[in-house]
C-alpha cells in the first residue's frame, strides 16, 4: 500500500464556492513498480452545486474509482478532494465517516438496503446513525415525491426492484446532503423503472437544488444529466454540456469504447 510515490504539490487554487465537489491532481495507484496500475492518473475536475453530472467512460477508465475517492469511500494515492470547503484526503477515518453520514448521500446499483430493517427504518438510518431526528415535513415531502407512503412498513424482500431503489433514493435525499453519489443506479432495473428513478434524481436537482453525481455506462441514463464528464485510462477525456443520448454515444465512440 505504502508505495514510494512522489509527493505531488497540490495546486494552490482556493476551492471554488461554486463547486460542490472538486478534485485536484487526483491519483490512485494499485501496486507499485513494474506492476503498478494507475486507476486515476491525475484528475482535475469540479462538480457544480445544484447540478446533475454524469461520469462516463469505458470499463476500466477509472470512473468508479473516481467516485469512490470523491465520496470519501476510498483514499487517493496523491492529490486532494474538497467537499465544499472541507479537504477530504487529510481526514481520519472517524471524521470521514461522520462527514459521509452528514454531507453525502449514496444510491447503489444493487440498492443495498439492510434486509433486517423496513423501508422507513432504512430511509432514516443515516440520520439515526448520526443521532439526529428527521425533519417530519421534509420526510413526508421526500416519501410523497418517491411514492413510498404505502410501503414504509415493508421490508426490502417485500419490495420490487424499482421500489427498493426509490427507498435508496429517499435514504440518500433525506439528510439533505451536499452531494448525492449514484453508482449505476439503473443497472439492476428495467428501462421503465430505470427512467422513473432517473426522473426522480433529476427532479430533486431541479426542484430542491440537490447536487447529484452519477456514474453510469448507459448513454440514455447519462442524457438525464446537465453535464457529462468523460473519463478514459484514468484521465479526464472531455465534457459534454446538455448531453443527449446520441451526443454521448458518439463521444464514447471517440474514446474507443
Amino acid at each position: 500500500m505504502s508505495a514510494p510515490v512522489p509527493v505531488l504539490t497540490v495546486p494552490g487554487e482556493p476551492p471554488s464556492s461554486a463547486a460542490a465537489v472538486r478534485a485536484a491532481g487526483l491519483t490512485k495507484t494499485h501496486g507499485s513498480g513494474e506492476t503498478a496500475v494507475h486507476a486515476l492518473a491525475g484528475v482535475d475536475v469540479a462538480f457544480a452545486r445544484g447540478a446533475f453530472t454524469a461520469i462516463m467512460g469505458p470499463s476500466g477508465s477509472g470512473k468508479s474509482t473516481l467516485m469512490h475517492c470523491l465520496a470519501g469511500l476510498d483514499s487517493a494515492t496523491a492529490g486532494s478532494v474538497w467537499l465544499g470547503d472541507t479537504e477530504l484526503t487529510s481526514l481520519r477515518d472517524d471524521a470521514l465517516t461522520r462527514l459521509r453520514r452528514e454531507r453525502i448521500g449514496f444510491v447503489f446499483q444493487s440498492f443495498n438496503l439492510l434486509p433486517v430493517l423496513d423501508a422507513r427504518e432504512n430511509i432514516v438510518l443515516p440520520l439515526q446513525l448520526a443521532g439526529r431526528r428527521p425533519d417530519p415535513a421534509w420526510f413526508d415531502a421526500v416519501v410523497a415525491r418517491l411514492g413510498l407512503r404505502e410501503r414504509l412498513r415493508h421490508r426490502p424482500a417485500e419490495l420490487s426492484g424499482g421500489q427498493q431503489q426509490r427507498v435508496a433514493v429517499a435514504r440518500a435525499l433525506l439528510p439533505r446532503p451536499d452531494v448525492v453519489f449514484a453508482d449505476e443506479p439503473t443497472g439492476n432495473l428495467d428501462s421503465r423503472t430505470g427512467a422513473e428513478v432517473l426522473d426522480l434524481l433529476r427532479s430533486s436537482v431541479r426542484e430542491t437544488g440537490q447536487t447529484v453525481v452519477m456514474v453510469t455506462h448507459d448513454p440514455i441514463a447519462a442524457a438525464y444529466a446537465d453535464r457529462v464528464v468523460l473519463l478514459a485510462d484514468g484521465r479526464l477525456a472531455g465534457e459534454i454540456d446538455a448531453p443527449t443520448a446520441d451526443s454521448v454515444v458518439s463521444a464514447l465512440r471517440g474514446l474507443g469504447a
Partner: protein, 822 residues
C-alpha cells in the same frame, strides 16, 4: 474430485483453523477427562490401598480368625513367590524431647522385597528387631531413638529403645493423619504382642496373572470365612471404605464421562454445520461445472474426515498434555489427591479419536446432504442478501419432544427412587431433547431480549437485534453450543455445592467428635478432662463414664454414660450419634438385632448397683449410650472411659499441633491411652472431595471455552457473509466504533440468552443429579451457590463480548468500498 477436496482443505485452511480448534479442544477435553479420571482413580487406590496395589493377591478372614496355619498352604501354591502375613499391634512410644507417650499402630515390614509397599521419604525399612520405620505423622527423624512400651502376648509390659531407620510417606491415605504408624519386622511386632495375622499379602512369580493366582490360592484354602482378592481389588475395597460410597464416586465419574462425550459431539457438529453453510455458493459452482451430487457429497465428507482425523490427533496429544499439566500442578500444591504420575488408558486415546472423527463425519452428513441439493444456479446468482430461512423442522420438534418428555419423566423417577442409573439416561435423553428444541425456543427468546437491548443500545443494538435473529437456525446452533457448556458448568457447580454440603453433613455425622481419648485399660483419671480443656486450641470436651452392664441376653457389655448438656456443644453432628434422653438407651443396630429389640421397646440393663428399664433408640452406629444419670444408677462408681474433645476451628497444621499437645498431656497423665485425631481424617476427606470436584468443574470450563469459540466462529462467518452490508453501513456513516458495537451487541445477545437459559437448566440438572446420586448413599442437602451462578452468567456474557473482538477487527478493516463492489 480428490484434488478438489485437497485443494479445498488447503484453500480454506484459515477457516478450518476455527473448526479444528473446536475439535482439538473437544477431543482434548474428552481425553483429559478420561486420563484424569484414571489417574485420580489410580492415585486414590495407591494412596488409600498402598499396601495392596503391589501385592498380586490378598487373603483375609471374615471373622478375624488366625491365618497363620494357611501360610504353608498358600506358600505351596504354584506361582506364589512370597507370602507376607500382616502382624499388627500397638505400642506407646515417647519421642526424643517429648514428655507424653504417643500411640503408634504397628504393622509389618515384609521380609520379601516385593511385598514391601511402604514408600520411604527417608532412610530404609527395618531389617532386625530394635528397629522401626515410622510414618511422617510421628515427626521422628532417621536415627532418633524412641522409648517404646509394648505389651507381650503373655501380658507382661516391656520398655525398649528402638531406632528409627526410615520415614514412610503415606501420601494421600486419608487415615495418615489419624495417629502415628510404625512398621517393624514380624519378629519385633510379635514381641510387642501382635495377634495372629488375619491378612496375608502374596507376591506371585514374575509374569503371573494376579487373577489366576488369586483363583489358585482361593482353591487351595478352605471355603469358610476366607476372602481372596487380587491386590487391586483389595485396594479398591479399602479405597471405597475410605472414600465412603465408592459406587457414588464411580457414578459421578460415569455421569461426567457421558456428559463430556455428548458436549464434544454437539460442539463439533455445530461448528462444522456453520462452516459448510458458508460454502453453499462454492459447492453450487462445483455442480455448475459438472460435479455430480455424489461427488460433491464425497468431497465434503472427505474433507470432514481429513479435518476430523488431523484435529483429533492434535486433540489427543493436547488432552494428555493438559492432564499432565493438571497433575503436575496438583503435585506442586501438595494436593490431598496426589495425581502423581499419569495413567493414560488406551480407551481414552481411542475414545478421543473416535469422538473427534465420528462426530465430525456425522456433523458433516446433514450439511453434505444439503450441499447436494444446492441448485447449480445458486452459483450464478449475485450474493444473496436475503436471510437464509431455516425450515421450521417438524421432525426436529417431534423428535425433541419425544426425547424430552420421557427423559424428564425418567429423571424425576431417578430422583424419587433415588437411583442414578435411572436418572442418568433420563438426564441425557431430556438434555438431547432440550438441544433439539433449542432450535425453536432460542430465536424467540433472543428476539425478545433484543427488544430490551434496543432501548439501551441505540441504532447498533437495534441492528444487532435484527441480525441476531435473521438466521434463526444459525443463532440457535451457536446459542445451543454455549447453552450446553453453561448448563453443564452450572449443573456441576450446583452439584458440587450440594455434594459438599451433603458430604460435610455426612462426614460430621460419621465422625462427630474432633478428638477421641480412650483409656486402653477402660479408665481415665477424672482430672484429665479439665487438664485437656486447658490446652490451647481445645474448644471444649465431655467425659463419658463407662460401666459393665448385663444386657437382656445375659452377656456383659460396656455401656457409656453421656450428658447431653455437655456433649451437644462438643459434637459436630448428632445425626448418626443420637444422644439418649433420660430413661433411654441408644443401641447400635447390630446389637439391637442381637437383642431382638426395635425402637421404643423397653430393655432392662443390670449393673453392680441395680437394674433399670430403658426405652430403646436404635442408631446405625453408636456405642451403647445412656445418660450419665442413668448409668450412675446402674454403677455409681463408673470411671471415665472416654473423652470427646472439640477443637477450635483453625488451619490444618494448627489443629494437628493441638492434637499433638493433647497427646502429650494425655501421655503424661496416663500410660495407656489412645488419642485419635478424627478431625484430620474428616478434613482430609473434605479436601479429597474438593479437589475432585475442582478438577471436574475446571474441565467443564473447557466446554464453555469451546462454545465461545463457536460464538466467535459464527460471528466471523457472519462478518464474511455480511461484508457488503457492513461496507454499506460504513458508507452510510456507521463509525468503526459503532460497527464494533453492533457486533458486540449481537454476540452479547446470543451469549447472554444462552447463559441465562443454561444457568436455569443447569441448576435443575445439578440438583436432580445430586439428588439421584447422593440419594442412594444417604441424606441429601441441596445448595445453590448464587454467587458462582451469577458469576457464570457474567463470565459467559463477557466472554461472548470478547468473542466478538476478532471478527469485529476483521469487519472494521472492510473498506466502505466493499459495499459497491457487489
Amino acid at each position: 474430485m480428490r484434488s478438489v477436496t485437497l485443494a479445498s482443505v488447503r484453500a480454506h485452511a484459515g477457516r478450518l483453523v476455527a473448526s479444528c480448534l473446536a475439535i482439538v479442544l473437544a477431543v482434548a477435553f474428552v481425553v483429559a477427562t478420561l486420563v484424569l479420571n484414571e489417574t485420580t482413580r489410580s492415585t486414590v487406590l495407591t494412596a488409600a490401598g498402598a499396601q495392596y496395589v503391589g501385592a498380586d493377591a490378598v487373603v483375609g478372614t471374615d471373622d478375624g480368625s488366625s491365618l497363620l496355619d494357611a501360610v504353608p498352604t498358600v506358600s505351596a501354591v504354584d506361582g506364589v513367590a512370597a507370602v507376607a502375613p500382616e502382624w499388627q499391634t500397638s505400642v506407646q512410644a515417647v519421642l526424643p524431647g517429648r514428655t507424653g507417650a504417643e500411640f503408634l499402630l504397628v504393622g509389618t515390614a515384609a521380609d520379601d522385597a516385593a511385598l514391601r509397599w511402604q514408600r520411604l521419604a527417608d532412610g530404609a525399612l527395618p531389617d532386625r528387631a530394635g528397629e522401626v520405620a515410622v510414618s511422617d505423622r510421628v515427626t521422628a527423624e532417621v536415627g532418633d531413638v524412641l522409648q517404646v512400651v509394648g505389651v507381650a502376648p503373655d501380658g507382661t509390659g516391656s520398655t525398649a529403645e528402638v531406632t528409627v531407620t526410615g520415614v514412610v510417606d503415606l501420601g494421600g491415605d486419608p487415615e495418615a493423619g489419624l495417629y502415628g504408624r510404625a512398621w517393624a519386622t514380624p519378629e519385633q511386632a510379635q514381641a510387642w504382642g501382635a495377634a495372629d495375622p488375619t491378612e496375608l499379602r502374596i507376591a506371585g512369580a514374575p509374569g503371573t496373572d494376579p487373577e489366576l493366582l488369586a483363583a489358585a490360592v482361593r482353591d487351595a484354602l478352605p471355603d469358610e470365612g476366607i476372602t481372596v482378592r487380587t491386590g487391586t481389588e483389595q485396594a479398591e475395597v479399602r479405597a471405597a471404605s475410605m472414600l465412603g460410597n465408592a459406587t457414588a464416586l464411580a457414578a459421578v465419574l460415569l455421569v461426567f464421562g457421558t456428559v463430556a462425550v455428548v458436549v464434544a459431539g454437539l460442539v463439533i457438529a455445530n461448528t462444522f454445520a456453520v462452516l459448510l453453510a458458508q460454502r453453499t455458493r462454492e459447492l453450487a459452482l462445483l455442480r455448475c461445472v459438472g460435479a455430480t451430487a455424489r461427488q460433491v457429497r464425497r468431497s465434503v465428507l472427505g474433507e470432514a474426515a481429513l479435518t476430523g482425523l488431523a484435529a483429533s490427533l492434535l486433540g489427543v496429544g493436547a488432552g494428555i498434555g493438559l492432564a499432565a499439566v493438571v497433575s503436575r500442578l496438583a503435585e506442586g500444591v501438595d494436593s490431598p489427591v496426589p495425581l502423581s504420575g499419569l495413567s493414560v488408558p488406551w480407551p481414552a486415546v481411542a475414545a478421543g479419536l473416535a469422538v473427534g472423527v465420528l462426530t465430525t463425519l456425522l456433523a458433516a452428513l446433514a450439511p453434505a446432504r444439503g450441499a447436494t441439493r444446492v441448485a447449480p444456479l445458486a452459483a450464478l446468482r449475485p450474493t444473496d442478501p436475503a436471510p437464509l430461512h431455516s425450515r421450521p423442522g417438524v421432525l426436529r420438534l417431534v423428535l425433541g419432544l419425544l426425547l424430552l418428555l420421557p427423559g424428564a419423566a425418567l429423571l424425576v423417577l431417578g430422583v424419587l427412587l433415588p437411583h442414578v442409573l435411572v436418572a442418568l439416561p433420563g438426564g441425557v435423553l431430556s438434555f438431547l431433547g432440550v438441544v433439539l428444541l433449542a432450535q425453536r425456543a432460542v430465536p424467540p427468546v433472543v428476539r425478545a431480549a433484543g427488544g430490551l437491548v434496543t432501548r439501551a443500545g441505540g441504532v447498533p443494538a437495534r441492528l444487532a437485534a435484527g441480525n441476531a435473529t435473521r438466521n434463526p437456525g444459525r443463532t440457535a446452533a451457536t446459542a445451543t453450543a454455549l447453552l450446553i457448556g453453561v448448563t453443564l458448568t452450572t449443573a456441576m457447580v450446583v452439584g458440587t455445592a450440594s455434594t459438599r454440603a451433603s458430604a460435610s453433613a455426612g462426614l460430621a455425622a460419621a465422625y462427630p467428635a474432633d478428638v477421641v481419648v480412650e483409656g486402653l485399660s477402660g479408665q481415665l483419671p477424672g482430672t484429665l478432662l479439665p487438664q485437656l480443656e486447658g490446652v490451647d486450641g481445645v474448644a471444649g470436651g465431655t467425659a463419658l463414664r463407662s460401666a459393665e452392664v448385663t444386657g437382656p441376653d445375659g452377656q456383659a457389655w460396656t455401656a457409656s454414660g453421656v450428658d447431653a448438656a455437655t456433649a451437644v456443644p462438643v459434637l459436630r453432628s448428632t445425626v448418626d450419634t443420637p444422644l439418649p434422653d433420660s430413661g433411654e438407651v441408644v443401641v447400635p443396630e447390630w446389637q439391637a438385632e442381637a437383642w431382638a429389640v426395635t425402637d421404643g421397646d423397653v430393655v432392662s440393663l443390670d449393673g453392680p448397683a441395680g437394674s433399670a428399664p430403658l426405652r430403646v433408640q436404635v442408631a446405625e452406629e453408636s456405642p451403647l449410650l445412656l445418660t450419665g444419670a442413668d448409668l450412675a444408677r446402674l454403677d455409681p462408681a463408673a470411671p471415665v472411659g472416654q473423652l470427646w474433645l472439640r477443637l477450635a476451628d483453625a488451619e490444618a497444621g494448627a489443629q494437628d499441633a493441638v492434637v499433638d499437645a493433647v497427646t502429650d498431656t494425655v501421655g503424661t497423665a496416663v500410660g495407656d491411652a489412645q488419642v485419635t485425631g478424627v478431625v484430620s481424617l474428616r478434613r482430609q476427606m473434605n479436601e479429597v472431595l474438593d479437589v475432585l470436584l475442582l478438577v471436574v468443574t475446571g474441565l467443564l470450563g473447557v466446554a464453555v471455552v469451546i462454545a465461545l469459540i463457536g460464538v466467535g466462529n459464527t460471528l466471523a462467518l457472519s462478518v464474511v457473509e455480511r461484508r457488503q452490508e457492513n461496507g454499506l453501513l460504513r458508507a452510510m456513516g456507521l463509525t468503526r466504533r459503532q460497527l464494533r458495537g453492533l457486533l458486540a451487541w449481537e454476540s452479547v445477545l446470543v451469549a447472554g440468552v444462552a447463559a441465562v437459559l443454561g444457568v436455569v437448566l443447569g441448576g435443575v440438572y445439578g440438583m436432580a443429579g445430586t439428588a439421584s446420586v447422593l440419594g442412594m448413599a444417604g441424606e441429601v442437602v441441596l445448595a445453590v451457590p448464587w454467587l458462582q451462578v451469577a458469576a457464570i452468567v457474567v463470565v459467559a456474557t463477557v466472554a461472548g463480548l470478547l468473542a466478538s473482538v476478532l471478527p469485529a477487527r476483521c469487519a472494521v478493516r472492510t473498506p466502505p468500498v466493499a459495499a459497491l463492489a457487489g
